[in-house]
């Protein structure tokens, strides 16, 4: 491993209330929430880079988004698109010595980038919490479920074990685990996959966090259990009013859960807007490609139209648009714009909160005439 680089905090303002000192048009675009509500989580110009023996891996580049309380943002992308890396940066879970994080992450107005580990510990699990993909490996196998819940509560609350236990039982009941007193003293291996994920959700909500990041919460589960867990997350959000960031690769899940959608490709946001905007009126060839590649339960038996090729290496991102090499519409853009100049994330209709990163001029008409008919 190469020597750890010092964190470059020059453009990450410590005074959070003032916001970023250099506010470009693009950055401001990102911080406006598609709903227009006051956001609770604001991510601005976030970049996450890992120095490795092979060079600098740019996992996330210039990512901006915001989530108000009571709303769900889905971050969609394929493996390696930076969706998990960016959310782990929000939670402060990256190894500081091996990661360079720049930009700004503000939670309820407080800047998180550059916080000490001790300060982060106070926020993590309390104001924000995370539900991981694999409940099998994210619960401690040697402690009872109850023990882990009680610990999670007592880290942030100075209460007796009995009070914490009462709270833990309440939470188990709330997430639909039958017979909480018995389940309380059981170990994770005695739980089924779906029950484990419920326990995981109980643990992440025990301190009543305002922000919940759910990283592929149902990917490891069967479809009937997935439906139960998605319903549970939806209901709990109604009850607690928390902001949810849902990371997923499954556009079906997005359609059922999300208020807003952010599509990531090769570490960058390529399209951002309300779920309706992005899924029903997408304005970026990569999003079109995703929608055209999924065989759905309701679709007719037509040939799938996959996206050709592979995503670029994050070690060596191409100049210009990262999607250009796989994009079927490159030749419709004048000159060699696509391969030489990175398109900005701009409003699709000149104004408004639906943005996309693409040089194409007639995105709307291409979608209406060519893509939409094929999607049915």
């Amino acid at each position: 491993m190469s020597t750890p680089a010092p964190e470059d905090k020059k453009d990450a303002p410590v005074d959070a209330k003032r916001g970023p000192s250099v506010a470009t048009r693009e950055r401001r675009q990102g911080s406006i929430n598609p709903s227009g509500e006051t956001p609770y989580l604001v991510v601005e110009d976030l970049a996450v880079k890992f120095p490795t023996a092979d060079g600098l891996v740019s996992a996330v580049n210039g990512l901006s988004y915001s989530v108000p309380l009571g709303r769900t943002l889905a971050i969609v992308g394929e493996s390696g698109s930076g969706k998990s890396v960016s959310s782990m940066a929000v939670m402060g879970l990256h190894d500081r010595k091996r990661t360079r994080i720049t930009g700004s992450i503000r939670l309820g107005g407080d800047e998180l980038v550059g916080l000490s580990e001790n300060d982060l510990m106070k926020i993590r699990g309390d104001a924000m919490s995370m539900v991981f993909q694999d409940p099998q490996s994210s619960l401690h196998p040697l402690y009872t479920i109850g023990n882990q819940l009680v610990e999670a509560y007592r880290v942030h609350h100075k209460v007796s074990k009995d009070v914490a236990k009462k709270r833990a039982l309440e939470m188990l009941d709330l997430v639909g685990i039958p017979n909480p007193p018995r389940r309380f003293s059981q170990y994770p291996h005695e739980f089924s996959g779906g029950m484990r994920q419920r326990a995981m959700i109980a643990m992440s909500l025990i301190n009543d966090p305002k922000l919940v990041i759910a990283d592929e919460p149902t990917t490891a589960l069967d479809v009937t259990v997935q439906a139960q867990i998605l319903d549970l997350l939806n209901n709990l959000q109604k009850e607690f009013g928390s902001a949810i960031v849902l990371i997923t690769h499954d556009l079906g899940v997005v359609a059922e859960m999300a208020d807003d959608v952010l599509v990531m490709y090769a570490g960058r946001c390529v399209e951002y807007g309300t779920a309706e905007d992005v899924l029903a009126n997408p304005r970026m060839p990569y999003t079109w490609g995703l929608l055209e590649s999924i065989p759905t339960v309701s679709a007719a038996n037509e040939r799938l139209r996959p996206i050709k090729g592979l995503p670029p290496s994050l070690l060596n991102l191409p100049e210009g648009c990262s999607f250009a090499a796989r994009c079927p519409y490159v030749d419709r853009v004048k000159g060699e714009l696509c391969t030489t100049q990175l398109p900005d994330l701009l409003p699709v209709d000149g104004a408004g909160a639906h943005t996309s990163r693409c040089h194409l001029h007639d995105k709307a008409s291409i979608y209406e005439t060519e893509i939409a008919p094929r999607l049915g």
Binding site: V223, V225, A280, I294, P295, S298
Partner: protein, 347 residues
């Protein structure tokens, strides 16, 4: 090749009858040890016609992969018949099996663990060629390159190792290895579930081409209902080691009769919802799949079924054609009735 026995219709390639796989387990109980069995597959029957594709769907633990492994004889069934072109291969010895191994190939789910990391692609693909004496010495490379080209890989890359390829490309190598021996049936065990959506579509299209161009029949094992609908003309839904419903794609997706199939379809998250065509009814199952060590009496689905009555606990429903069914559509339920509008239909 065209020799068939009287009891098998002319174009039936593979017939599976009452196939069972019980895995013994030891469990300490009280003072002694009792022997229990996991009834992974418990009486599965279906037919596969030449060039057709049958989808086996179900949730984890329903026995779909075990069924696939028995058909390719990676597992020896506890009982039942696997009749391939008139010969029952269920209990054949390794030596007698060899000619059939050539006909029945499998593509695995995980493209990372199913290729030997220390062998070149050329070696991986040519091993089956050598084992079955299919090419003359000196022509192996030409055949390997032909196969690589067939699955959409660069033939020049035959000297590379699996780690130099991406997940989708590795899955293509696995497919090329299965194709090498010119099989008549390929068992595809979750062939695309480890891949990203855009790559998944590439591999799906490749499989479809193979089916059309080479006339290979597929048993397609998957949990993703969308993928199965796309690829299969015939679908069998499994639950806890048994087939609960079987029929053509349209029968299963448009008018499912078994409550489990209905729940499965209703639970699949669908893009249709966002385009303003939400399904009319939502079914949500409670609880989890029971243990296959001690499955429920009678109907195995009854513990999660909203239609269950006393008869379901005492009498096991048979997989049969119901009075209201269209021909060829079978369901194993005492209260089977078709339900439409479970999935959002796109115009």
């Amino acid at each position: 090749m065209s020799e068939t026995k009287n009891d098998t219709p002319r174009d039936t390639l593979l017939q599976v009858r009452d196939l069972k796989m019980h895995f013994p387990i030891k469990e300490a109980a009280g003072l002694g040890r009792t022997k229990k069995v996991v009834q992974a597959v418990d009486g599965v029957s279906f037919e596969l016609k030449a060039g057709a594709s049958l989808g086996l769907v179900g949730e984890s633990g329903c026995g779909k992969s075990t069924t696939g492994r028995m058909i390719t004889r990676l597992l020896t069934p506890t009982s039942g018949e696997i009749v391939f072109k008139g010969t029952d291969i269920a209990q054949l010895k390794e030596r007698e099996l060899r000619p059939f191994r050539r006909q029945l190939q499998i593509v695995f789910q995980d493209p990372y663990s199913s290729l030997n990391p220390r062998q070149t692609v050329s070696n991986i693909i040519s091993t089956p060629l050598r084992v079955h004496n299919l090419v003359k010495k000196g022509q192996e490379l030409a055949r390997v390159q032909e196969l690589l080209e067939r699955v959409g890989l660069n033939p020049e890359h035959h000297n590379r190792y699996p780690n130099e390829f991406s997940g989708g490309q590795r899955q293509r190598i696995g497919i090329a290895r299965a194709l090498a021996v010119e099989p008549e049936v390929i068992i595809a065990d979750e062939p695309v579930s480890a891949l990203d959506v855009s790559i998944q579509a590439q591999v799906m299209n490749l499989l479809e081409d193979l089916r059309k161009d080479l006339g290979i029949a597929f048993v397609f094992i998957a949990h993703d209902l969308g993928v199965v609908r796309h690829f299969c003309d015939e679908v069998a839904v499994m639950y806890l080691g048994k087939i609960v419903e079987q029929g053509s794609r349209d029968q299963i997706y448009n008018a499912p009769q078994h409550p489990y199939t209905q729940a499965l379809l209703s639970a699949a998250p669908d893009l249709g919802t966002i385009r303003g065509v939400p399904p009319k009814e939502r079914i949500r199952l409670v609880g989890d799949v029971p243990s296959p060590i001690d499955p429920p009496s009678g109907c195995r689905f009854r513990t999660r079924c909203w239609k269950a009555e006393d008869i379901c606990a005492t009498q096991e429903p048979l997989l049969e054609i119901k009075p209201q069914s269209t021909p060829g559509h079978t369901a194993a339920c005492h209260f089977a009735e078709p339900k439409v509008d479970l999935i959002a239909e796109t115009a």
